[in-house]
């Protein structure tokens, strides 16, 4: 890795300022996001469970959407609250086309995927 690769090339007077900044940025990235943040876990779950119908931007244009009898909702325009979104993800929709993920996912996984979905919303 780049951080490891720096070893041995450190000048005797310490790291140059630019490199210190870059190393700090990498550490910060690892601390805040790189180790699997809520959003990152949500993104992974979204890709696994939602992408085929809802599409990469939540527009309802996933590869399977065209085969479904109903229109897949555009998550960017959803007016559901966070709690309502969690309920839909957990319990599914009455028409059955939206699966209930409650039995398959843990509560925190549902929370993570909803956090990711909310990022699609346009202000």
């Amino acid at each position: 890795m780049w951080v490891g690769g720096m070893r041995g090339r450190v000048p005797s007077g310490g790291l140059p300022r630019g490199k210190v900044g870059a190393a700090a940025a990498v550490c910060l990235w690892l601390l805040l996001g790189g180790c699997g943040s809520e959003a990152e876990r949500g993104a992974s779950l979204y890709a696994q469970r939602c992408l085929t119908c809802h599409g990469s931007e939540g527009a309802g244009d996933g590869s399977r959407a065209a085969f479904l009898p109903g229109k897949v909702p555009d998550l960017r325009k959803s007016s559901l609250s966070e709690e309502e979104l969690r309920r839909v993800v957990s319990e599914g929709r009455k028409n059955g086309l939206m699966p209930a993920f409650g039995p398959a996912l843990k509560e925190d996984e549902v929370r993570d995927v909803v956090a990711y979905i909310q990022r699609f919303r346009t202000p």
Partner: protein
């Protein structure tokens, strides 16, 4: 002509013969059912032997055996409730077949889970409700992994768990007549509602008395 050219010709002839033979056998055993764009998406295979027997648990927690369905045709498929692929669509298509045949058709719809880890009795009951399934006509079955594995294998279903609530499986729709004979299988998810309804009409016994 060299010896090698002669060999090549014989090999090509044998290959062409094999292709013709396979094509002919394909015609005798079944046919492709094209989807709306004309591409084959489901393969209908004629079977004609007793359907493998099984006893599992339905969404009401009651034992359900295939032999207990004699006198009705059975439309049988395999899927799981948290499926993000085409399982929900297959479920709506089964409902559409039942609607086409009417409420008095002696038909039982059967869905067998491919994910017993998640799909317990309660989960299957909730799944059925979301699709408006009448438990007297439509059964959603689960059981022990061992019992289910035997049924999957008997009906040609291959199941590979990927993550909790996520399994890979092939789509199989089996038609069993009122005498327990496995008449046909549709392989693939692209089977046509009209075609399956038509096939069922050919094998259904007389309609059941009107339900009150």
């Amino acid at each position: 002509m060299s010896v090698f050219a002669g060999k090549r010709l014989r090999t090509a002839g044998a290959l062409a013969g094999t292709c013709l033979l396979l094509f002919g056998a394909r015609g005798a055993l079944g046919h492709w059912v094209p989807d709306q764009k004309g591409a084959p998406s489901a393969w209908r295979e004629a079977v004609g032997r007793p359907a493998p027997e099984f006893t599992l648990i339905d969404q009401e927690g009651r034992p359900f055996s295939l032999s207990g369905q004699r006198g009705r045709a059975v439309l049988l498929t395999f899927l799981f409730t948290s499926c993000t692929d085409l399982c929900p669509l297959v479920t709506t298509q089964m409902a559409a077949v039942a609607r086409r045949l009417g409420p008095n058709a002696p038909l039982r719809l059967v869905v067998i889970t491919t994910d017993p880890e998640v799909d317990g009795v309660e989960v299957l009951r909730a799944y059925g409700r979301r699709f408006g399934a009448d438990p007297e006509r439509w059964s959603f079955l689960t059981g022990s992994p061992r019992a289910l594995e035997r049924v999957w294998h008997a009906y040609g279903v291959s199941v590979t768990p990927v993550a909790r609530g996520l399994v890979e499986h092939n789509y199989v729709l089996a038609l069993v007549d009122a005498g327990g004979i496995w008449r046909a299988t549709y392989h693939g998810e692209g089977w046509d509602v009209g075609q399956v309804a038509e096939d069922l009409l050919r094998i259904l016994p007389a309609p059941l008395p009107t339900r009150r």
